[in-house]
Structure formats: C-alpha cells, structure tokens
Amino acid sequence: MSSSDHDPVLERAIEELERLPAVERAAMERVIAAAAVARVTPADQPVLDELSAVRGWPRAWRIAATLAMVSAAAVVGFMVRGAAPGSTVDAAHQSAAVATAAPTTARAVVQPVTDVPGAAKPVLQQFVFHSARAKRVSVVGDFNQWNPSSAPMVPSAEGTLWSVLVPILPGRHVYAYMVDDSILTLDPTAATARDPDFGTKASVVLVGKP
C-alpha cells in the first residue's frame, strides 16, 4: 500500500513486512495432500496415486490418503445398500429430518458402518428436497466434508422430489442442498444456523441422540 500518511518510517516498515517468505515445495505438497484427504472424490484417485508416489512424502499422509479412500468407498457402499430397489419416499415428508424417527415408507434400516466397540455408530438419515426444475441435487454438509459428489439425490418418478439416505454419526450437523452443481440452497423446512468458520448460513439437523 502506498498510503501510510506519507510517514517515511512507517513506509520503510511496510516495505519490510511486504517481503514474501521463502516457501518450500514440500510444505505446499503437504497442504495439497491434506486437502485431498479431507475432501476426496473418486475423480481424485489418479492424482492421489500420483501424490502417493512422490518421494519424501510422509508415510503418515500416504496412510491417511488410503484410509480416506477406504472410508469414502465404505460410505458409497453403504448408500447403495440404503437406496436398494423398493425404497420409496412419502411425498408428504419434505423435511430433511424425517428419517430421525424412522420413516415408514423409506424402509430405512439403521445399520452400523463399524463394529468397533465403544465407537459411535452412524445412523441412516434421510434427506428430501422438492424441486421441479433441478437437473441434479446432492446433499452437502459437515458429515461429508461439503463434497457435492458424495451424496447425490435420486429423483422420484415424477422428477420433483429428490431423496437420499446418508449414514451420519449421531449429533448436530449442518448441511445444505447443492442444486445443479452450483446453487447452494438451504432446507426450507429446517432450522438454520450460522457456520462459525465461514459465516454463512446452513440448515441444521439433529441425528440420533446428540
């Protein structure tokens, strides 16, 4: 900035503070690897493989990336089981939180993803969104790292009611719907809260016993 009250001392200080630090390539690679682990999508697999082969990449990150891929695959597999043929969704249930009380028409079965003793077990949460014009809808939230490809919603026969069952750990979660890959929409039937990190609003769902 040039404006500093034209004070020569302050201008020299600003000049000094403007110097960019030297950056190690490895530090940036760690950032990219950590981000990839945090929000991994199937499309990222080739890049992850490439990163895994980078010499000097800490072993911990390779393990973490592998674990992330395994857990992502587990979630996808779980969702496929939840959306088995024959599952139907009651059109009256246009709330995201309807599955909390085990919806009668979704035939959702609460299943544990993991059998680790003492570990909190995910429960199937049904999300339902009404839109006659959307071409694609997915639910994004803190439970799937806001990843729009993690939980795509399936339209009803009439194409107006979109639904998905997502395994989520019990507790309070924030979420929204991603419409046509670009429009983030709050659930009109759910309470909203401000995300403490990003300052934006999100819908709130309470899953199981918080």
Partner: protein, 174 residues
C-alpha cells in the same frame, strides 16, 4: 480455476495453493502469537477452504474469503496459545525477541527487519491483524468490513493505533 476447484479438482486447487501460499504464510507469521505454528495454520486454512469450496459464492472476492478463513484460524490459535502458554512462556518469547550482542553479521544485516518484527509483535492482536490486512495484503476498508463485520470507522482507528505504536517503537519514542 476456482469453479474447477469447487467441483473437487485437485489440480485446480494446487494452482490456488501455489498462488496464495506465500502470502498466507507471511500473514500467519505476523499475526500468530507463536509464529512457529504458521505453516500448520496455513495448512489448516487451505484444508478448510477446500472443504468449504462448494459453498463459495463467486460474487464474493476469493482472496477476501481466503483471508477471512485464515484470520479466523489465527484468532482461534492465538486464543488457545494464550490459554495454554501462560505468563512464563510469554516472558520467554519476549526474551527471545531481544537481540543478542553476539549475533552473526548476517543477522545484524537485517537489524531493521528484526526491529520491525519486534515492534509489530508489541501491537495488540486485534489492531495488528487489521493493519496487516490493509497495508500489507492490500484490502480496502470496505473489504475488511465485509470480512470481519467490524465497521470502517473502527477499522481505521485500529490501523491508526497500530501505525502510531509501530512508529513510536521504531523511532524510540514510547
């Protein structure tokens, strides 16, 4: 590029990291009570950014959004540092900032740089962050108001106070 990164493209995200990493590191080193945490904080910021990208609305300036997240991370880290460290560690850090009389000549060459950083460390966190956002990172007061929710009149006052303190420390007028 940002649109591609929003859809989870790691290649596009890599380009973003390359473009902004150095600036983020510079900011974090100046804002954090413990500058050794700067790299971790920048990493945390980019991970949060990548996870939140689907929610990024492109009418907001990307750079503002990035520094908003970084600012939040640094404030949280400073609160934790103050809570955990206590007076003893603060005193040790203060001692570390005092220049030694037997510094090698290379370090003496950057005497001015050291003086500036010591003076900046004396500026209270809440004034220092705004000073850096405005003078070093080049954000306008209007942009900083949107990022922090603090009114422009208050922001200008904070920058003035930070400037006055820096000036007095660097000219020896306390």
């Amino acid at each position: 590029m940002i649109s591609r990164a929003k859809l989870g493209d790691i290649g596009a995200f890599t380009t973003i990291v390359e473009a902004y990493y150095a600036r983020c590191l510079r900011f974090a080193r100046s804002v954090l009570q413990n500058p050794d945490d700067a790299e971790d904080m920048v990493q945390d910021t980019f991970v949060r950014l990548y996870r939140a990208l689907p929610r990024y609305e492109e009418r907001q300036k990307f750079e503002s959004w990035l520094f908003q997240i970084l600012g939040n991370c640094c404030r949280t880290a400073n609160s934790a540092f103050r809570r955990d460290a206590g007076r003893t560690v603060d005193d040790e850090r203060a001692l570390e900032r005092v220049p030694s009389s037997d510094l090698p000549s290379a370090a003496l060459d950057n005497e001015w740089g050291d003086a500036v950083r010591r003076a900046l460390a004396d500026v209270p966190d809440y004034n220092r962050e705004i000073f850096l956002l405005h003078y070093i990172e080049g954000f306008s007061y209007e942009e900083i108001e949107r990022m922090t929710g603090v009114r422009q009149s208050a922001l200008k006052m904070r920058v003035k106070r930070a400037s006055d303190l820096l000036r007095s420390r660097l000219t020896g007028k306390v």
